[in-house]
Symmetry: C3
Subunit: 347 residues, 3 copies
């Protein structure tokens, strides 16, 4: 079933051999490499001209019933593909599918041009081939790299710099920010606003501390819908290349992340928290201020990281402990709750 | 005390008999059904011409002191109403009040017309009697049902369809969405943007998976302020008729809910989570990806649902357990903490 | 290192004696009070003409290595300042720094004027010296106090009143709101929209309860980026003077806070919750509906307050208990998890 044409452009058909190449998959002997594939879809939705993938035993039944022209899967599952479906074997079917689907359904290209209602400062620099939507506002001295898209109602403050091929989506607002290429800010993302910095005075009022830093976004950083990234207070807030923030994430001032961090929806990083490279924070987790999470560490959903986490460590719980310890603690707590009387009274 | 007229239109006065009928309440013998009621307010605020309600013993003192012309309440509380106040007895006073208050204070009707600054694609279809506010942007081929309101700065993407009587409030953005009638998107709601779907590649980069689905909103769905509903990755994200999302809720791609779910502020539903009908999720709860919560289940505030929840089950805690078990576990944990020494050392 | 001039105006240089006075610090004997200070920065970033501060032993090494012209610190740390650096002793170095930095880096003044694209109702009252940005929308009868800034795309509904010196930032939306002076709404803040109020009907539908109250914001209240403050349902939602909400905070209808509350990112206050004065809620905490948190109480990160909290009490955990009890409980739970076998089985 092709995607709804009201919302998604028609796929770009490719011969199976080319698609296998894009996906890094081996075309099995005897397969018709010239067969045209015209879409990518989940197993249960894929039509006869589409490619799909299997990356878990859980979906073997769906594989057996699929109508897909070809399925990307690991060698051990190849035999389960139905007769009409070509099994394209790969080590990482999800990655292979991402590549194949991106080739078949490339993201829409910018439609170069500046909407007449956009308000662009005279000295702002708009690169070649950019698309600037209705009611976009771009401030003095800002630079937008070639081939970028600034969607309707986005507001880009004075002096901000974006590299090539960025997309600043509807209603996003940006200030005090230097961004690399391929950066994507989803609708309603807030980047560069003041951090939450102030000192209480004896009379009960608060004195704001000027927030004099910036936000630095590495290449290909993504900031989710309605997510917030405050600028630094003195040094900068930095998101390393490739880091992805899901929707409604909060990043406080002076936070620094390494490369390729994955920060799931509604996570909060308090001021001056630091993440190494390739850290994963699952949904609704929080990291306290000035805490460091080492490279490759993974933090479970709703966990509260109150102390440094060593690299390549999994932590879970609030407060976050090593995952095995938390699982054991909760298993034992459950046993205590299910026991006839409280152990404290048994002692 | 009537509502502040700077913000709320004057109420539409109704005779008491008509109001009782609207509320499904019995007018007591001897009451003056022709008395005019001109507003609805809480017990302690209601003036002499207003109706109020009591739905908890907690507020019996406020009932005794009220100046309200009439109070909706259960029969067992009728005797506590003060002499000047008519006791209108009903089974569900809150529901009856909602109906009475809605009759007295009807929502503002659309003021038909298209603001000259709205940017509307030539082939978009705007139904009869719609109100389109300043700087609204409506994309190619979009359809807005009759009697709908699109407030200032709302952005509706190409191809989106809304049924009759919808309200898309200030700064909401919508794409890839088909919505029924009576749908309400509160300010800053984000609906239809890309989900958080990608595969990590060996070089540390991420390859985005094209998000080829849509968002389907049933009749009378509400999406709260700054809440986010991502479109499906292949199949659709679906919110069943009447489902209400409070502010800052996150709904990941491919989530499906049944009818009449109540999803309180800051809840997160991870990708492909499923809710049955009439599920309640209290504030800040989370549901993990691919997990199913059965019809009529209730999930406590801040709970973390990591595994399927059977229908009509109450769960609490992170991880979420049956509510009684969690309450017992925490009661016993408290006893352990209050005991003179740790039980592990006593063993 | 001065702040990036693309984003921050040049500092306003001050002689050291004047700066000490502003900061409430004692200038040591022999110090050159005429020396010009031209910026404020953290210890490791401060250049030779800048002032910095030390408020924790943790940063004594940074103090010893600093190039700052002067450092605000407590008397006991004065001896650790390097030879070229003047030690300015104060009781509260962070507060003193906030004052000094604000004097050196004053917030940008409004640039009076109304952008030609702003849509302002004919009867709205715009005070003297206001700056109204592109595409701002200001409704009928609204009043904006003198010296206020309404940034690009902000939408202010009919009848709203703001005092002097307010700043309503990009994409904020406001309705049904009366605000004092010096109020700041950060980008994407949503203030005054409908609360989450409805009654379930027997047929499975919900009947909305008209939300007839307002939002009252005391002087100098701040609402963070993409935070939400719903208006009252009958009475008002009230944020006391000086209260500060960080990003992505949710405030339900009828919530009332006292003066000077500090509400950190992603906190949720359910309907009719009440906070006294100077309450602190750390990140991602939640307060249940109709619960009261007493003046001076502090609630830990991710805590869930389900019952009233007495004044000046620290609570932690979900459910929130007195902080010492929760810490003990989790320490004992950890001991139980680390023990060779579960105590429930040992009993």
């Amino acid at each position: 079933m092709p995607p709804d044409p009201r919302f998604h452009p028609a796929p770009r058909p490719l011969p199976l051999a080319r698609l296998a190449e894009v996906a890094g998959a081996a075309l099995p002997e005897g397969a018709d490499g010239a067969r045209i594939v015209a879409g990518a879809a989940p197993l249960h939705m894929a039509g006869e001209g589409e490619v799909s993938f299997l990356d878990s035993r859980r979906f073997l039944d769906a594989l057996k019933a699929t109508k897909a022209a070809a399925v990307l899967l690991r060698p051990e599952h190849a035999a389960a593909a139905p007769p009409g479906t070509v099994a394209l074997t790969v080590a990482d079917p999800h990655l292979a599918f991402a590549r194949a689907a991106s080739a078949l359904h490339p993201p829409p290209a910018p439609r170069p041009g500046i909407h007449p209602t956009a308000v662009i400062a005279p000295d702002a620099v708009i690169g070649e081939g950019c698309e600037i939507g209705p009611y976009a506002v771009i401030g003095a001295g800002a630079e937008i790299g070639a081939g970028s898209v600034v969607e309707a109602h986005a507001v880009i403050g004075p002096g901000c710099v974006f590299g090539e091929g960025c997309r600043i989506m509807a209603h996003a607002s940006v200030s005090h920010t230097l961004a690399g290429r391929g950066v994507r800010l989803h609708p309603g993302a807030r980047v560069g606003q003041e951090g939450f910095g102030f000192a209480p005075a004896p009379d009960g009022s608060f004195v704001s501390v000027p927030q004099l830093g910036r936000v630095i976004l590495g290449d290909f950083v993504e900031v989710g819908a309605n997510a917030c990234v405050d600028r630094g207070s003195g040094r900068d807030t930095v998101l390393g290349a490739g880091t992805r923030l899901d929707n409604l994430v909060q990043v406080g001032h002076n936070v620094e992340t390494g490369r390729g961090c994955v920060i799931v929806a509604q996570v909060g990083l308090a001021g001056s928290a630091r993440l190494g490279d390739f850290v994963t924070l699952a949904g609704q987790a929080g990291v306290a201020g000035h805490v460091t999470v080492g490279s490759g560490a993974r933090v479970g959903a709703q966990s509260g990281v109150m102390a440094d986490v060593p690299p390549k460590t999994d932590v879970v719980g609030s407060p976050a402990w090593p995952a095995r310890l938390t699982l054991k603690a909760f298993a034992r707590l459950k046993a205590i709750a299910e026991a006839p009387a409280a152990p404290a009274r048994q002692g």
